[in-house]
């Protein structure tokens, strides 16, 4: 029987010295079996000295015991490694392996400062190892973590559409701050990583550990408030033959689903609206301001330039257009991602190595948007002597993103972020112009008036505005370990990270962007002030991070059952960031790299069409030079007593060069305490039903750095190019009473395992108190604090405390063992927050509670609350929404808005799901394995969009709800959509768009992904490969169930379309 389930072989190699030699020239047949099932394990790896062998189809292997080695190491994926002394082997050739268990067994937890077996830690960790990560074919680590990581929430509420760089907001155990950094600290191989997670080759990752509570995270002190995500990459092993792995995959995606967008009103209805408005005299007909093609036709008919029947014919043609259809045809394609990755690892007695290279190429769904990534990574460990070790790591990555495409929602030079619904892009192979920045009558005459063609032709623009983003990232680190005494080790670590980013934008001379500028600056006598040629922008920035660390570790075994570990260290860190200036080359000729470098940016010229006096656009005045410095001292101790108790403690002091703060306020002490009780190892504990049981309790304080706190007034310099003087804006009046934000966290956990380890897991309860959260004080504007019109002056105070309570449940079960194996992993997370102190004033205007992405804080209310306006139905007489003023139904919306008080608005619920979960099922039978991932989110709400008449009028962006609007008496019984307004409808729109009827339940169940794998033989003797895995992987498979009946995806409440379904095929080979 062949039974091969997992993908990679793990071998954890001891670096300890080697024992006595044995000389017994013999061969012995051994057999490797599973303790849990009693079945032989096929393809288990047996390492003898530096040679690796594999068991055959019966789990057997003939081993020469005529060797220098004293023991062999046996490993099999999913099982514990075992070391057998050869002398023992002679007596008993049966090797029994215990099945591996993610939650209870000797998982090594790495925090970046130390590594510890999980059973000796007191903190709360989530470990995601490579076998789980390898199940998906995603090219970035975040996507791989989604759905398999407890306590990690990916918040996509604010993702719009055609997103490319936007990573979702990450929350580890909910929110920890209001205005400071919300991103968890990412630690890559012991050092903080500020780069883009996209730049890490996921094939390099050994495991990802999420540190969730104070004991787990507080070793990171002032940066640990939001949780810590520790990423460890693969290493080589000593005395191991080269192991080569090759991965390749191809993933294809559907075209973007433009028809998803509810903010669309068909051409026919839109034209009807325009006709109505036209008759009302809504449009201001100036010579230059743009008017839609429909309005131009209506004007032409009014002026008797065309007949009524011409008008009807023309409008009839437009009515049949659908811009989404056009865009899908000419602007979008099926996306594809190709991935190639090669990894080699191995090692001799003195050196081990890991080397990898990868290349990814993505063609995104918007035509001409491409993305390439190259990564290189080498990791070596040298044993310089028996007491000195050295590890070096060099990794490099380069990512090139081309954003040359033009999608339906991409911003462009003609300010068309959405095209009117009857826009047509192509006819008879000719790319058609659409309305640009000026009236078509004027634009059509441009060439007759000595100007360049001034038309905006969307499909011509594709390829005329080259936007490229290049990111390069280099990471060098070396770590020196010295064993001073058997129990005392010294280490010195140094890390250097250099990341460079460059953005290029080349607007061709034929692009609308350039032609528009040339035309605008063409004088009445025909002189062209704006230089002809391309317009080229580029900007680079660079970030340099250096960290040095020295650390002493003291590890001592006390007797046979107790261990004491103490470490203490100091760290010094500097992060330098500089960007810009953004360069602007006018009159640029890329063939000869010529440009005009002597332009006058201060003389004002008359510009077309309005005659506005304007200087040539000067190069953007942006340049930044930031340096952050940190000094930290830290210490961590753990005492493990009699295998029954573990006590841990940590303390850390951080200081940084915060701006405008007294030196004694720059530092902050942070600490944690923890305990673990292994009930299992108590003599009185004899439960056979629950053979594994441990309790944990931790408490501690973490911090969060906010760079904007200042005790003194702070000003920011700017150069005024018109006046040619340095000017300075007051950005903060200074507050000497500011304190650091703190997170106080208590965690109680229980780890358990039922009989035979069929079910095991852990449950954690936590309370997190975020104290002294910083925020802008709401002040009487008379004091001079204002954000109006460029006066970005705010006053920061410690204005709120937040409390988050929650639990995490992780459950693993082996439902079926034997030939057909079925494992289930269930994750349930609950996290809900509440503001328990808020000492600023309430917002004087009611609208911020609805309008802002996140409502202003309010004591006793969740930070994630959605507020809404109470619904009183539509007036049966005219179809307008009722509002209640002083107990009376009314339709005086301005009066309603100005009299509306906080107490009268509704709390509709949390915008972030408090209760989430995921269910992973993994089946395997013979060489097949199948897994699928289901995610659910419950207990939350989202505000859906609906018709906003004012937006429809001004920009022709409608909404499908328009079709359901109140039109005649009786409609109020079947619809909530107010009638077509008579005049300006801003306040009417606002009262409706924030009303309770538009808040929908977000609860849903999603089929996140499905993976199917087939594994070819693991017999090493056939030469070509050791094992081969073929995977099929499908993702974004949609909602299985959703509480809202609008067909909307609650995770993307404002997106124009949701991520497309993808399907991929992957190949993994080991040699």
């Amino acid at each position: 029987m062949r039974k091969t389930i997992f993908l990679f072989l793990i071998a954890i190699v001891p670096i300890n010295s080697i024992g006595q030699e044995l000389e017994q020239p013999l061969t012995k047949e051994i057999v490797v079996i599973s303790v849990n099932t009693g079945e032989p394990l096929v393809g288990a790896s047996i390492r003898i000295d530096s040679d690796t062998y594999f068991t055959d189809e019966n789990g057997k292997l003939k081993v020469s015991v005529e060797t220098d080695a004293s023991f062999i190491d046996v490993s099999f994926v999913g099982f514990h490694n075992k070391r057998i002394y050869i002398k023992d082997l002679l007596d008993n050739p049966k090797i029994e392996l215990n099945e591996y268990d993610t939650f209870l067994d000797d998982v090594i937890i790495s925090t970046g400062y130390y590594s510890l077996p999980k059973e000796r830690s007191t903190g709360s960790f989530t470990v995601v190892d490579k076998s789980v990560l390898n199940r998906s074919l995603d090219s970035d680590i975040l996507s791989k973590l989604e759905g398999v990581t407890s306590s990690l929430h990916l918040d996509r509420r604010f993702e719009r559409t055609e997103w490319r760089t936007g990573e979702p907001d990450l929350r580890v155990r909910g929110l920890s701050t209001i205005n400071s950094q919300t991103k968890p600290l990412i630690v890559l191989n012991n050092f903080p990583y500020d780069g883009d997670l996209d730049q890490i080759n996921p094939e390099d990752i050994e495991n990802v550990i999420i540190s969730k509570d104070a004991a787990a995270a507080s070793i990171w002190g002032a940066r640990a408030s939001n949780g810590v995500i520790v990423i460890t990459t693969k290493k080589g092993q000593f005395k191991q033959k080269p192991n080569i792995s090759l991965n390749t995959s191809l993933t294809l995606g559907e075209k973007s689903n433009l028809f998803y967008d509810p903010n669309y009103l068909n051409s026919f209805e839109t034209i009807e609206v325009e006709k109505t408005l036209f008759n009302r005299g809504y449009y201001i007909e100036s010579d230059y301001a743009p008017l839609s093609p429909v309005i131009e036709l209506l004007i032409a008919e009014r002026e008797n330039e065309i007949s009524i029947s011409d008008l009807k014919t023309e409008l009839g043609i437009l009515e049949r257009q659908d811009v989404r259809r056009e865009a899908l045809k000419y602007m979008y394609r099926n996306s594809s991602v190709q991935q190639y990755s090669l990894g080699i690892n191995g090692g001799s007695y003195f050196v081990n190595y890991y080397f990898s290279a990868s290349y990814d190429k993505a063609l995104e769904s918007t035509i001409n948007n491409n993305n390439n990534r190259i990564t290189l990574n080498t990791d070596n460990t040298f044993k310089l002597s028996s007491k000195i070790g050295l590890n070096t790591n060099i990794s490099f990555s380069q990512q090139v993103r081309e954003n040359n495409g033009l999608g339906l929602y991409t911003s462009n030079a003609a300010n068309r972020t959405f095209y009117y619904p009857y826009a047509q892009f192509k006819q008879n192979d000719i790319n058609l112009p659409i309305l640009g920045l000026y009236r078509s009558k004027y634009v059509d005459e441009a060439e007759n008036n000595g100007l360049l063609n001034w038309q905006f032709v969307p499909l011509d623009e594709v390829g005329l505005n080259d936007k490229t983003n290049r990111q390069r990232y280099l990471n060098l680190s070396s770590q020196l370990f010295i064993e001073l005494l058997p129990e005392l080790k010294f280490s010195a670590l140094y890390n250097y990270q250099l990341s460079g980013n460059r953005d290029d934008e080349l607007n061709h001379d034929q692009s609308y962007y350039t032609r528009n500028l040339v035309n605008r600056f063409t004088q009445n006598d025909g002189t062209r002030v704006f230089p002809e040629g391309h317009v080229y922008f580029f900007q680079s920035n660079e970030k340099k991070e250096q960290t040095g660390r020295t650390q002493l570790n003291y590890d001592k075994l006390l007797g046979s059952k107790s261990v004491i570990n103490i470490l203490a260290g100091a760290e010094i860190r500097e992060v330098k960031f500089n960007s810009g200036p953004k360069m602007q080359l006018l009159g640029y000729n890329p063939e000869m790299i010529l440009f005009n470098n002597a332009l006058d940016y201060s003389t004002r010229h008359s510009t077309k069409p309005y005659g506005t006096l304007s200087a040539l656009p000067p190069p953007p005045n942006v340049m930044e030079d930031l340096t952050d410095r940190f000094i930290s001292y830290y210490s961590n101790a753990s005492f493990s007593f009699d295998r029954r108790f573990v006590f841990t403690g940590s303390a850390r002091w951080d200081a940084s060069n915060l701006f405008g703060v007294n030196i004694n306020q720059k530092g902050v002490p942070l600490w944690s305490l923890g305990a673990r009780w292994h009930l299992t190892n108590e003599k009185f504990y004899t439960s056979s039903f629950l053979p594994q049981l441990a309790l944990r309790l931790t408490h501690g304080i973490n911090g969060n750095i906010n760079n904007s706190i200042t005790a003194f007034p702070a000003i920011r310099y700017l150069f005024n190019s018109q006046l040619q003087v340095n000017t300075a804006a007051l950005i903060n009046p200074g507050n000497p009473n500011l304190k650091w934000e703190k997170t106080i966290m208590t965690n109680m956990g229980i780890d358990f395992g039922f009989k035979n380890n069929r079910v095991n897991g852990s449950m954690d309860f936590y309370i997190k108190k975020n104290k002294d959260l910083l925020g802008d004080d709401i002040l009487d504007p008379t004091v001079g604090i204002s954000t109006l019109g460029g006066a970005n002056l705010t006053y920061l105070i410690n204005y709120a405390d937040l409390i988050t309570k929650g639990f995490d449940l992780d459950l693993n079960s082996r439902n079926l063992i034997g030939k057909l194996r079925w494992n289930t992993n269930l994750i349930v997370n609950y996290s809900a927050n509440k503001i328990i102190r808020y000492n600023s004033k309430d917002s004087p205007s009611i609208f911020p509670y609805f309008q802002s992405n996140i409502a202003p804080p309010k004591e006793g209310v969740s930070r994630d609350i959605i507020y809404s306006i109470p619904w009183h139905g539509l007036d049966p007489k005219d179809g307008f929404q009722f509002v209640e003023i002083d107990g009376e139904l009314s339709k005086d919306y301005p009066a309603y808005i100005s009299s509306l008080k906080y107490d009268e608005i509704l709390k509709s619920g949390s915008a972030v799901p408090p209760l989430t979960g995921s269910l992973n099922n993994l089946f395997s039978y013979k060489n097949f394995d199948l897994s699928f991932n289901i995610i659910w989110k419950t207990g939350y709400f989202f505000r859906r969009s609906s018709i906003v008449y004012q937006t429809l009028f001004s920009s022709l962006i409608g909404h499908r709800d328009f079709l359901d609007r109140w039109q005649k008496e009786g409609d109020e019984l079947i619809t909530d959509v107010p009638a077509f307004p008579n005049g300006n409808s801003t306040s009417q729109d606002n009262v409706y768009r924030y009303s309770e009827v538009l808040v929908e339940k977000g609860d849903h169940v999603r089929l996140h992904n499905i993976q199917l794998g087939y594994r070819f033989g693991s017999n090493s003797n056939n030469g070509l490969y050791r094992n081969l895995l073929i995977q099929l992987y499908a993702k974004n498979l949609g909602l299985l169930w959703s509480a809202n009946k609008e067909g909307l995806d609650p995770d993307y409440p404002i997106a124009n379309y949701t991520p497309a379904k993808t399907i991929g095929v992957g190949l993994k080979m080991n040699f």
Partner: protein, 451 residues
């Protein structure tokens, strides 16, 4: 091994003491500083985005009788405060922020920060210290003046010590609360500070955004005119005009250009530019036809100030050379204040000379004829008309209406027509004083005006 441990210990100790202040004292952002030099304070006052832009005129200009907005357009407008200000509604803001109030107090915050910072510097006798101090006092007083003209009653000798003025914030400390002073206290503070500023401000500045002695005198002239103190108004207008006093001859300007008047032109004494609201933007603004017809055909301002845009007879004559209204001080305004005060003080001859001096620079050169008026009242009336024509959309009409309403001979009833509804604003109506913004009342407890 022992020595090795010792060495390691030394390294660690060294690292510990590396926590010296020098390492952590580095400024994290090179662009950001804690201001502590004259240059820093000068740079703050040169921040034209706040100090020379956007304060104090949007409500006033929206409410004047110099223009109208067609009914259809008014109904389509979205900004509540602009809409309400246009029809002199009792409630203006409907929850919107009070732009004029907030912007003016931002200037006060800047000025107070500078004034307090300067006190901590050593070198208080240097010319540059004095100039910056003078400028800060000027900006604060100018902001107080603007706020007084908008949010409190105009100065009336009999009631000034009772009428509610504005909060006179003299400290940047946001924890200090200032109640509304009386009108008298407000004007006293403005006048005293301007006089102190005038003593230390430079006579000339290369930059029109920086206040000069002439600018301080210019605001003093406006103040005294508001107070009907013609002697002082004359003195300061005269001084300001003489110090700056260059008029542009419109014959030398292409008045047909879309924006005929260059920014920072030679008539400008101090540059200040207002934001504009929807009703006073060129898509909505229609110049009052009576006023338009008051411009002589020979008057170059008729073509220089007005043009037709999208069927609107609208305004293009901003001295900022843009769509934004220029609301700063000009030599022309000083000349007209001098003319009016001269006439009011009985110096008709010189008043007439002043009037004709301005007209000569505004009329087509070879067809210009000086006017002759002997009757004092007629002359004043003529000067006031000239002032209205010269200073259209310059931020002064509202204060002029308030001032002239005090004299029964120059009162006016303002009328707006929206479809079949008529709105009237009678002389000395309470609605001539704008309401304090809602948030200043609710958060700061500032006493609201009766409307």
């Amino acid at each position: 091994m022992k020595t090795f441990i010792n060495r390691v210990a030394i390294i660690i100790i060294l690292l510990s003491s590396a926590c010296n202040e020098a390492f952590l004292d580095l400024n994290r952002n090179k662009k950001m500083v804690v201001p502590n030099s004259i240059e820093d304070y000068q740079a703050l006052l040169d921040y034209a985005t706040i100090m020379n832009t956007g304060a104090g005129y949007t409500l006033a200009e929206t409410s004047t009788d110099d223009y109208y907005v067609p009914s259809d357009m008014w109904e389509q407008m979205s900004s509540a405060s602009a809409k309400n200000a246009y029809i002199w509604n009792a409630d203006i803001y409907e929850g919107e922020q009070g732009y004029d109030w907030n912007r003016a107090y931002s200037r006060v915050m800047y000025a107070n920060t500078v004034i307090e910072g300067l006190e901590k510097l050593q070198d208080k006798e240097s010319q540059s210290w004095r100039n910056v101090k003078g400028a800060a006092l000027f900006y604060r007083s100018y902001a107080f003046y603007l706020l007084s003209t908008l949010f409190s009653e105009t100065y009336k000798t009999e009631t000034a010590s009772m009428d509610l003025g504005i909060p006179l914030r003299l400290s940047s400390d946001i924890s200090i609360k200032y109640e509304r002073a009386t009108v008298e206290e407000s004007y006293n503070r403005i006048i005293d500070d301007l006089k102190r500023a005038a003593l230390i401000l430079p006579l000339k500045s290369d930059l029109k955004i920086r206040p000069t002695k002439a600018a301080a005198h210019g605001i003093l002239a406006r103040c005294y005119l508001q107070m009907n103190d013609y002697e002082n108004a004359f003195l300061y207008a005269d001084s300001s005009f003489k110090a700056s006093g260059d008029l542009m001859d419109y014959n030398e300007i292409d008045v047909t250009a879309p924006y005929p008047f260059p920014r920072y032109n030679k008539e400008v004494i101090f540059s200040d530019v207002s934001a504009i609201t929807t009703p006073i933007s060129r898509t909505h603004l229609n110049v009052d036809s009576g006023l338009y017809n008051a411009y002589d055909d020979l008057d170059l301002r008729k073509t220089g100030f007005f043009y037709v845009y999208a069927e609107n007879l609208t305004f293009k004559g901003s001295y900022d050379g843009s769509n934004n209204f220029f609301v700063g001080l000009t030599a022309g305004e000083m000349l007209l204040i001098r003319a009016e005060t001269r006439a009011r003080l009985g110096d008709n001859d010189n008043a007439l000379v002043d009037l004709n001096l301005l007209r000569k620079n505004r009329y087509i050169a070879n067809e210009y004829e000086a006017i002759v008026i002997n009757n004092q009242e007629e002359l004043i009336e003529r000067i006031l008309l000239e002032k209205r024509k010269e200073l259209i959309f310059r931020g002064v009409r509202w204060t002029e209406l308030k001032r002239l309403n005090k004299d029964v001979k120059t009162t006016k009833i303002l009328i707006r027509q929206i479809k079949d509804r008529t709105y009237e604003l009678h002389p000395n109506d309470k609605r001539y004083v704008f309401p304090i913004p809602d948030d200043a009342v609710s958060l700061g407890g500032i006493e609201q005006n009766e409307r």
